[in-house]
Structure formats: structure tokens, C-alpha cells
Amino acid sequence: MDVSRRHFIETGAGLGIVAAFGAGSSAAKTPSAAAMPDWHLGYRTAPPNGFDPATMRLVYGAAPQDLTGSLYRNGPAQLQYGMEYASHWFDGDGLVHRIAIEDGRAVHKARFVATKKRREEQAAQAFLAPGFGSLGDDRYSVQGPDDVNAANTSVLMVDGELLALWEGGSAIAMDAETLATQGPKTWRDDLKGMPFLAHPKVEPNGRVWNLAVGGARVGIYRIGTNGAFEDFGLVDIGRAAYIHDWTMTARHLIILVQPWVNENLRPPVAAGFEWQPQHGLQMLIVDKDDFTQQRWAQAPARMFYHTGSAWEETDGTIKFDAVFYEQPVLGVDGGADEIRGQWTDPGPAENGVLTQVIIPPTGDARLIETEIVGEFPQVDPRFRGKARDLVALASGASAQRPGATGLTVQNWRTGQAQSFEFGDQRMVEEFLFVPKVGGSGDADSWLIGTVLNLKAQKSEVCVFDAARVHEGPVCIWQADYSWPLGFHGTWA
């Protein structure tokens, strides 16, 4: 950590506090806001119409001249109606953000995904739909998964089409410019309403693979580089393990069957989970060219939400990175308390640890556990499925509040990690690799991500040089307001 750099960033961004109070922040209008801890800003409901385009202020550093594109992000942003809170963080309606960056200028806008759930709950100004943490209102009709689709987890850009992703229902198509909702995406008529996970895997050539999870049956989508549907197949994973993410090499799909099982996927989903560590962490390895060609690998019991990416060595050994937990987190109680402003330090047992999984051609898998605590592992999109050095993740944990406090880049080849610690005043979210123009290695990248500045009560977009993360941000753009914490994004 570079203390002087951090101090400068704190001081510089601190100027925003006066403006925030002077302008009368939205926090003051929320009846319960005064009694809330400062970090509850990250769980506050966004304005009903989202955010109109607004230029963010460059408050630190100089913007890279070659950084041109848009950071799209998604996250739950309707967490309260009146005095009623959502039952779980995962059930908030998806708010899709676009931060368009060009010529050193960043413009933010955001729109809610207009799902059935969103439309009906807005009309009633109440939570109605069943979901991850909610049984829902009896009067709310549910004729298929998309009737409870919160569209709040991630985004995917396929051949210019923006998709808001959830995991239990369809991807929802949106206009990439206006962020207007177009409706559920049907890849093929007979696949209407099939789930489409929020963690599709995109090959460096643009081909997209993704899963549809329905208990022990898992569907596999293959979508061409032009966005055209190519193939769909089904595999059996043996039990209804919770699958939020998975991973992929150039030749194989790797479906992680964690021992966190939910045989009854009826709402509230969170109530149906069972930790069955006796099964260990099993991994189904599927040939991308022939889904019937499969083999299993076994690792010690771990729970996980997210992987980085995988690759295959010449002898067939598979390596991938993931954040692993010793036991389930966020499933039952976690994710419900935070949106009410309640949080107690769960301690190290609930920390996610960056881990490399090594699956030999035969025999059990081996885990290489680092000491890096974090979440949202990301790799350079040019190296998805290929051998690479780096993985970046939001890192660190505070004893004062939920969320990450820093950014860490681990180099698997050297075993060295670089970190930048923002401190307790910022909640750090996912950072994405954006290849530098003319660069070739994964260190030749910018890392771009969002940070919630609790001191200024404003949201920020930070850029780091992937090769020099420890030196701190290259630049920070700050909005004139804050938006709630989100989950995942994409750069396009």
C-alpha cells in the first residue's frame, strides 16, 4: 500500500463532502437514513427512473488517452418500499449502469430493467414477487421463471446487443445506448424461458458459452461470435448443487458441483439450501466438441460464488482460479441484514480466499490457497481459457462494515501479489481488465472498476495500471451522487 498516495486520494476526494451536504444529499430525504451506518449508502434504493446522463468529475490523476469504451454494470437497486425492506439483497430490481468513457471524459447513466416484477412492484409500490429470500405475495402471478426475474446480476454484450443477466430466468435484452428494456431473450423457440446464468464465458474470439441450471440438469448454450445461436445440450450433474458461476478452458467446460445443495428451488430459495460437505467439491469436465465426453474430478469441500478463468497445460492438467469459502456465506442471513443497515463482522471463517485449483489428468484436484481475501476475480479477456499470469480481485475486509477495501492483482507465475488499499472510507467493487492499445501481455491492461466513497457519499470510477496496482489509481472520476453497490459488469 502506498500511504502517501492513499492520503492524497482521501484528501482530494474529501472536497466532495461539502458539496454533498451543501446540495442536500438524497440520504437526508430517506426517513431512516439518519440512523443508518455510513456504509448503508451502498444499499440505498436508487431513484425510480434511474439516473439521467451526467458527466462525472475527474477528481484525481489523468485519464488514459487510449481508454475508450463503456463500463456496463448491473446490481440490485430497489431495496426498500416505504418502510419495508427487500427480503434479500439478491432480490432487488436490476439497475443497469453505463459509464461511457471517451477523450478522458466519463458520463454515467442508469436505468432499471423493466421486468414484470419491476413493473408490478412499482405500480403497487410494494414488494410482491417471490425470490431468493422472499415467499412473495399470494396475489402475484408466477407462470414461469421470468415472472420472478430480477435481472440484477450482470450484463453481457453479444454482437452489439446488451443483455441484463440473472441466473434463474432469461437474459433481458436492452438498448445498449438508451438502456431501454426490450424484453426476454429467446435463443431458440424451444428454449423460451430457459435460465441463462449470469456468468457466461466469452472466448477471446467472441464465442459465448453459458449454462442453464435446473436442479441436477444443466443446459449448455453455445452462441457464435455474431450473436447467432449455435447449439444447446444437456448434462446431468448428479445433484441440485447451487451454481452461480463455472469455468472453461479452450477445450473443456468445468462445472463445479459444490456441496451446497438445494433440492427445492421454490421461493424463498435461500431456505432450501443444505451444506453437505461429505460430497466434497466435485467438478464435471465436459468436452466442448462433444458434451457426452465427460470426466469427474474431486476436491475438498468448498463453497464458492465466482471463478476467474481456466486453462489447460499440454499434459491435460487444468488450472483455474476462484474465490473459495470454508462454508456457505450470504445464503440465509447474509444479504438480508445489510440492506437494513445491520452488520456484524463474521470473522475470518467467512472470508473468501483466492485459490488456484489444479486438476491433474487423473486423480484428485489440488488447491493452492493464497492469503488473499477478496471477491469478484477477473482476468484479461484476451486470455480467457488460455494460460496467463494475472487475476485481479476486490480485496481486503473491514471490521467496521461489509465489502472489500482494496484491489489486488495476483501473479500466479511469480507467486507475487500487488495490492492497493483504499482504507475504511471506500467500498470497492469488481474491477475489469481493459487491454491497453498495442499491448500484448495481461499486464498491459487497465483495470477499471467502481468504488463507493463513503466520506464524500459519492460513487466513483477508478482506473489502475494492471502492472502497477500498488501505486494506486491512475485516475478517479466522481459522480455528483451515489448509486447502490452492484455485482458485475462488462467493458464494451
Binding site: 399470494d138 402475484y140 402471478s141 408466477v142 407462470q143 414461469g144 421463471p145 423457440d189 424451444d190 428454449l191 423460451k192 424461458g193 430457459m194 435460465p195 442453464a212 435446473g214 440438469r217 443446459g219 444447446f232 444437456l234 421454490r266
Partner: protein
């Protein structure tokens, strides 16, 4: 609609064969059909038959526009409900995705919607009056 007419004729002839003391007429309009192709498969139920597979009466209606109509004659006044689906590809089945969710449009009388299953009898039932009733269902 020629096919509708022929079905009406069929139903009418059946009804004429079994004259009823207090016969009433039910007209069901189906609107909001997205694709002008295939067949609307419509079943008419009373309370006893609603949860079973056999309707007390039914019609298969050729779709050539965004709406179809069918009239049932010779029904006893009372409570009824309708279940229907749009057999878009005319394969005679209500198609589902690999996880068993319907991929063809379906609806219930009163435009009732289910909650993790078909609409309930209580939500879908309507009254057929002695002097006849017209009931409209909108697909969406």
C-alpha cells in the same frame, strides 16, 4: 373463419342430438393472439373436471388473425372455466422447454394467472347465465 364454423356445426349437431331442458349459449372470444398461424386448443371445464385432463367440451380453432371465436350451445347455466393454449406449430402438443416450462402461449378464463401452476378454479371460473354469456380471454 371456416374452421370455426365447421367446429360450431359439429358442436351444434352434438347438442341438437342431446336436447337439454334449459340450454344456454356460451361464446368465448380469444384476443391478443401474437402469431396468425396454428391452432387455439380450447377446453371448457366445470368444477369437477377442472383439475383433471378431460374437458367437458372443447374446440380447436384455426388461427388466421389476432383473434378467434367459438360458441358452445346447449350448456346448462352455471359455473365454467376455460383453459387454452396456442399450438403455434400445429404439432398437437403444448410444447415445453427442456426444463418443462411451456414455450407456447396459454391462458385461462378471466385472464387468470397461476402461481407456480395453472390458475385455480376460484380465479378462472365464470357464470354462464340462462340467457347466454360472452366471455373474452386475452393472450399476453
Amino acid at each position: 373463419m371456416n374452421r370455426t364454423v365447421s367446429i360450431l356445426a359439429l358442436i351444434a349437431s352434438t347438442m341438437i342430438a342431446i336436447p337439454m331442458a334449459s340450454a344456454s349459449q356460451l361464446t368465448v372470444n380469444v384476443e391478443g393472439i401474437e402469431k396468425a398461424q396454428g391452432t387455439i386448443m380450447l377446453g371448457l371445464y366445470d368444477e369437477a373436471s377442472y383439475k383433471g385432463s378431460a374437458a367437458i367440451n372443447g374446440a380447436s380453432l384455426n388461427v388466421e388473425s389476432d383473434r378467434v371465436t367459438v360458441t358452445f350451445e346447449g350448456l346448462a347455466p352455471g359455473e365454467y372455466a376455460v383453459q387454452l393454449y396456442h399450438d403455434i406449430n400445429d404439432d398437437g402438443e403444448m410444447n415445453t422447454n427442456p426444463f418443462g416450462m411451456p414455450t407456447e402461449p396459454f391462458a385461462f378464463s378471466n385472464d387468470a394467472k397461476g402461481r407456480f401452476g395453472p390458475a385455480t378454479w376460484a380465479d378462472a371460473k365464470f357464470v354462464l347465465r340462462a340467457d347466454g354469456t360472452t366471455h373474452t380471454i386475452t393472450l399476453n
